[in-house]
Amino acid sequence: MQDNPIDKLFEKRVSWLADSGPEDDIAISSRIRLARNIQEIPFPSNASVDHLDSSIAAALVAVEKAKCFKKFYEIDMTKLNPLDKQVLLERRLISREFFARKQNTALVMTDDETCSIMINEEDHLRMQAMLSGLRLGEVWNIIDKIDDRLSAELPFAFDETLGYLTSCPTNVGTGIRASVMLHLPGLVLGEQINAVIQAVNKLGLAVRGIFGEGTESLGNLFQISNQSTLGEMETQIIDRLEAVIRQIINHEKNSRQKLLQNRREFLMNHIGRSYGLLRHSYIISGEDTLNSLSALRLGVDMGMFSTVDIHTVNELFVIVQPGHLQKYAGKELDTSERDIFRATVIRERLKSSEKK
């Protein structure tokens, strides 16, 4: 029997969180995904079981032949248990839509979690690359090469005028969605976040909370991404996004500086209490955890903690989520059991980093 790749993943740290990248105090990770479809096969939401099976078969053969990756896993999603699926979602290797899909789907991912290809998501192929920090250019080089290699093996649906054809017209053309995950506690505490979101929207970019619905964002984590995919070159889209991201990062830095100058006690109190809550709770909800982790991360960034490093905090953001907690516990946990186990995991992590 083949080893469960999810178990293997689990033994390792999340690479896009554990590695250092440029500007990674504020820009946590950069990701680019490309949407591609195979000629002559209807898009997944309109495809028969046979069609879905043939797109999976074609894609898997192409991945092998194209030698895109040195070491990778192929995962039949229909055979995966819900908890393992949840873990993939929490590690951002699959999308929420892919997670919920009931049809035949498959996943290819590299063992370092940098790249993954969702087969039969909304489009036949959704390939993504992800790195820590603000590194959109590097990420583009990775995914661009994979796309080139795959396109030598697979006939992608392409139109001279409209470019790559996608199930949703919002993705047509380049099929690119570039996004950066930003941690913006300064702008939230300084009550400037709404102004920033509005300005970013006006530039035709989308802002989403990573956790929570709509504009409310737990943990002050935001994802900024391009909306338009047609009429510009990939590199233009990426450059435009990166320019805006750099401005946001500057605003965040200024906002933190202002808080430190004008509302020092308020800021210290906020960070100190959050650390206390994380370090000493025996029951803690997901929401409290994410918001406290955000404050702790801010404290670490500002040099207030010598014992806690940023990667520990980054990893906690992932492992306090329901799927990871249950995987750690090795059993299913209901909400109140999770709140207890979550508190235990956090206490131990923070305690062990103190000893170092």
Binding site: N37, Q39, E40, I41, P42, F43, S45, N46, E97, A100, E122, D144, D147, D148, R149, S151, A152, P155, F156, A157, F158, D159, E160, T161, L162, G163, Y164, L165, S167, C168, P169, T170, V172, G173, T174, I176, N201, K202, G204, Q227, S228, T229, L230, G231, E232, M233, E234
Partner: protein, 187 residues
């Protein structure tokens, strides 16, 4: 404020979207939002479908099938089209905001063309193309886009002679572009 869909209940959900600095707002009640949501699973699709509704109603009022009011759902007015390759219909498209297959882009071209203009920075692909080694971007397309922008500027400044020149240049580029394109396809 009353719900824009059922026109009965108080609108409690307000959806706003800004595309190319044009604001679009939809005000609906909880019930209608739930109904819409059940249909396509996510709010994202809902926004898109609504953009398409309004746009297709505009198309409709122009072609003599009867004056459609902007807020009426359009499915009833638009002559139903079905994709011969995959069976996707106008109703499928309006409800889910998605297409059935690559061929649908040709079939639903009229409904799409205006919608795409609102969604994206341009209407012509200038990015990479399939095929390893085929890294060249569509340079003619980039040129055409630049000229198109110039054309708009000329029109805005009422420089009609220059506008006409630019328009002719675009037309000639488009024609030139057609021949090599077919050759590429035949390979």
């Amino acid at each position: 404020m009353i719900c824009e869909i059922c026109k009965k209940n108080e609108a409690t959900i307000h959806i706003q979207e800004i595309i190319n600095s044009q604001k679009k707002a939809l005000h609906i009640c909880q019930d209608c939002a739930a109904k819409k949501n059940a249909g396509n699973g996510m709010l994202n699709g809902l926004n898109l479908a609504d953009i398409l509704y309004n746009i297709s109603s505009n198309i409709n009022s122009g072609d003599g099938t009867g004056a459609a009011k902007p807020n009426e759902p359009v499915i009833s007015h638009v002559p139903s089209i079905t994709c011969g390759k995959c069976g996707w219909t106008t109703v499928n498209f309006s409800e889910r905001g998605r297409l059935g297959c690559a061929n649908c882009y040709t079939i639903f071209r009229d409904i799409l063309s205006l919608a795409l203009k609102n969604m994206h920075k341009g209407t012509m692909h200038v990015g990479k193309r399939p095929g390893a080694g085929n890294k060249g971007t569509n340079t003619a397309a980039i040129e055409i886009m630049k000229l198109q922008k110039k054309l708009e500027e000329h029109v805005m400044r009422e420089e009609y002679e220059k506008a006409a020149e630019t328009r002719d240049l675009i037309a000639s580029l488009k024609n030139n572009n057609k021949t090599p394109k077919k050759q590429v396809k035949d390979k």
